[in-house]
């Protein structure tokens, strides 16, 4: 469903992502992990068509992203790292805008949106988005994506700002959408989420994939026999000496 071939992004002399090759199957939840500045958001932006790539290609649903950008964007749903929305629109006006811009089937989408609103306790749609807290914005952004039931869903740190209940609901909804055939690309710093939810995990560091596979595959890569994703992640990204660093402080 999502395939990248030697995907590369350079910012001047700096290579943010180097020859990335991904192959994510339909109906899979793919966890994309990495330390800060590793290239996660850059990769997601390239996959969602918001950032031009320097070389390589992105194939989604057997279509080249560069050649079919608008067609692919209409089957994608993206929850970006920051839930930025037009502050002078009210919540329900933003939803109307999204329904219109994605040409959604009104009755079906509205029904699903109202159900999601109930689940997330969204009762602030008559207020201006500018008055929302981060959590409220995140809920609205997530709902505006899930109401469309897109074939491919990109989630960049989707639980940031959400309360425990809403985060749990979101995780359940992701599982549900996956079971109904959606492909999900998820980045998170909460390794527990990745460990429990993702079918496969890719770890990126300094722009390159350093490990990829199921949890079992990753455990095999650990030279010290680590079992938790957190320990494996730290070992693979070379940050396992953190206790020494903390002791020095």
């Amino acid at each position: 469903m999502i395939k990248t071939i030697n995907l590369t992004k350079n910012f001047g002399d700096f290579a943010a992502v180097k020859n990335l090759n991904l192959d994510i199957k339909k109906g899979e939840i793919y966890g994309f992990l990495g330390p800060n500045g590793a290239g996660k958001t850059t990769t997601m932006r390239m996959l969602t068509g918001t950032l031009n790539y320097t070389s390589g290609s992105v194939i989604i649903n057997d279509m080249d992203l560069r050649k079919n950008e608008l067609k692919l964007k209409s089957i994608m749903g993206v929850v970006p790292d920051e839930p930025k929305m037009y502050e002078n629109l009210k919540g329900f006006e933003f939803i109307e805008f999204i329904m219109g811009i994605y040409n959604c089937k009104k009755e079906e989408t509205q029904k699903r949106f109202e159900e999601i609103c109930e689940a997330f306790s969204i009762d602030f749609l008559s207020n201006y988005i500018g008055d929302y807290s981060h959590g409220m914005k995140q809920k609205l952004m997530v709902s505006s994506v899930l109401m469309r039931k897109p074939d491919v869903i990109f989630l960049d740190e989707p639980t940031v700002g959400l309360d425990a209940r809403s985060a749990k609901i979101l995780k359940m909804l992701i599982e549900k959408y996956k079971n109904e055939g959606s492909t999900i690309f998820l980045t998170t710093h909460i390794l527990e989420i990745a460990e429990k939810m993702c079918d496969r995990i890719g770890i990126i560091n300094k722009g390159e994939i350093i490990a990829e596979g199921t949890m079992e595959d990753l455990k095999k890569l650990s030279t010290t026999g680590q079992n938790s994703l957190e320990d494996i992640f730290l070992e693979l990204t070379g940050e396992d000496e953190i206790s020494d660093i903390v002791d020095e402080i």
Binding site: T50, L70, P80, Y86, I95, E96, K106, N127
Partner: protein
């Protein structure tokens, strides 16, 4: 005090735009240059308005006793009081919410609240910061305070040392009066923070700004010495006789301000006491003030969603009309000619020039403001399944279509004032109007995308140099097309005049029709060029 200075220093520093040196390196100027950048236009504006007030009030320094009214005040005091009340109210309703906006909008407020900084210091730094941006009505009040002692002092024929002493007292009185206005506005801000969210405060602040500018425009056109002269002062006084008790009531702080400037020690003392009480209250109330927006929750209405067939246009129009500054820019080119109509200038050629000059400049500004709305949430708009070029270009066409519609309205109105000829002239002029509007919007958008990394929180999106370039282009093309065209209409109607009497008819037509046509063709070429360059910039946009 040192904490307040520190907060203000970094706040001003944050407002300074980085400038590129000749090597392309970004350089930041000092914090004070940022402050001067904000104060300079206000100072220029203040000097201009000061002259206007001086011309208006110098002939009105007539004691009311001369009109048989038992009062120590003069006719000037009545007019000054009306001005001070109006400006004071505008200052209050624009400044109070702007403090709230500044506090609630700043990402720093939450961080500062966790630091060992007094709440009153955080509040005062936000207040001083807002004053730079919303001091328009205060900027109008300072010249009033300065010209009053000049006019009043002249009438008393004081000795020089006495005059200097009186002038110092008057300046202190002015500062005390401004202190009261600021203090009352601060109290208003504290009160509003209890029930007003960030968006509501923003709207109120912008609306007041809009009102203040309109008031200035109307005042500049209607309050002129030839309209308020001594010959009809008696009639005016009779009309205002009943209102005298109201405008100079001791409950107004300006009554004591005027009293103190006229030498009343009691009035001076009242001003001092009012300042002490107000600032003590400010200090006291800020301790328990809510400095982070909680937003007032509006009762949810379950409604059917209305999905538009053109959601982009619907959204753009909503955002455009909800921003008071945009609304002002949209309406001013229409309001200004209407003021001209009512003040007797009903020449469609002159109105066309004025409309075109203002509208073409504002069209580029509006396009940039609308693009900025997308930039505020960038790169999220790139996720929509619409072409980025379409997303941006709709922002160029919307102001053009609205202004073209306004020009048609003016043309129809001019028909009722000046007849059929004026209507035809306006209809012919619609084509160059449209082309100039398209060109200036394209130039504005291109300027924006040449340097797209702009501070989205700044009100002035375009730099001074860019603004001057746009103004220059608007003036050159408006005058270049409309002056020969209006001269041509006079030529056709009344025959050769001025230097055209000495030239052959062929040469006359060549000049009067040739120059505008040449400029129109040049504009069409430039529109194509700008559009091409904009497309290239948009393709590079990430």
């Amino acid at each position: 005090m040192s904490q307040l200075t520190l907060l203000l220093k970094y706040s001003f520093k944050n407002k300074v735009r980085p400038k590129k040196d000749k090597y392309g390196q970004e350089k930041k100027s000092s914090a004070m240059s940022g402050v001067f950048g904000y104060l300079l236009p206000a100072a220029v504006f203040g000097i201009f308005i000061g002259f206007l007030f001086f011309m208006t009030f110098q002939n009105l320094n007539i004691p009311l006793a001369d009109f048989g009214i038992s009062s120590s005040f003069s006719l000037m005091d009545i007019f000054l009081s009306i001005s001070l009340i109006g400006l004071g109210i505008f200052f209050f309703i624009s400044y109070s919410p702007s403090i709230i906006v500044n506090l609630f909008d700043s990402e720093m407020t939450g961080i500062l609240l966790t630091m060992p900084v007094k709440k009153s210091t955080i509040f005062l730094s936000a207040a001083v910061d807002s004053l730079l941006l919303s001091g328009l009505s205060l900027g109008m009040m300072i010249p009033l305070g300065v010209i009053y002692p000049i006019i009043y002092g002249n009438s008393l024929n004081l000795s020089i040392p006495h005059m200097i002493f009186s002038f110092v007292v008057m300046i202190i009185s002015l500062l005390l009066f401004i202190g009261i206005l600021l203090g009352v506005s601060l109290l208003g801000g504290i009160f509003m923070s209890n029930f007003m969210g960030k968006t509501a405060a923003k709207k109120l602040s912008m609306l007041a700004y809009f009102g203040a500018i309109l008031l200035y425009v109307f005042a500049a056109n209607f309050i002129t010495p030839d309209k308020i002269n001594v010959s009809n002062a008696e009639v005016l006084v009779n009309n205002l006789k009943n209102a005298l008790g109201f405008v100079l009531s001791p409950l107004w702080p300006h009554t004591h301000f005027l009293g103190a400037m006229r030498g009343s020690f009691i009035s001076f003392l009242i001003l001092v006491l009012m300042n002490i009480v107000i600032y003590y209250l400010v200090f006291l109330l800020t301790r328990n003030m809510n400095m982070i927006s909680t937003g007032k929750k509006i009762k949810e209405k379950k409604s059917d969603y209305k999905v538009s067939s053109n959601p982009l246009l619907k959204k753009d129009l909503k955002l455009l009309f909800r921003d008071s500054q945009s609304l002002f820019l949209l309406l001013y080119p229409l309001i200004f000619p209407f003021i001209l109509f009512f003040t007797g200038s009903i020449n469609m050629a002159f109105i066309s020039i004025m409309f075109n000059f203002i509208a073409s400049f504002y069209a580029s500004f509006l396009s940039v403001m609308m693009i900025m709305e997308e930039r505020k949430i960038w790169p999220n708009p790139k996720l929509y399944p619409i072409d980025t070029k379409r997303l941006i270009k709709s922002k160029i066409y919307i102001p053009i279509i609205i202004f073209a519609g306004e020009f048609l309205i003016l043309d129809i109105v001019s028909f009722f004032f000046s007849g059929f000829e004026s209507l035809i002239f306006g209809l012919i002029m619609l084509i160059p109007v449209l082309i100039i509007l398209i060109y200036s919007s394209l130039v504005g958008a291109k300027m924006f995308f040449k340097n797209p990394k702009r501070d989205v929180k700044q009100k002035n999106i375009l730099s001074g140099k860019e603004t001057i370039t746009l103004e220059g282009l608007s003036i050159v093309f408006s005058l270049g097309i409309f002056i020969p065209m209006s001269a041509l209409s006079v030529y056709i109607k009344s025959g050769p005049f001025w230097i055209f009497e000495k030239m052959s008819p062929v040469l006359n037509y060549l000049i009067l029709l040739g120059i505008p046509l040449l400029l129109i063709f040049l504009l069409i070429y430039l529109c194509k060029k700008e559009s091409k360059e904009l497309n290239i910039l948009l393709e590079k946009e990430e």
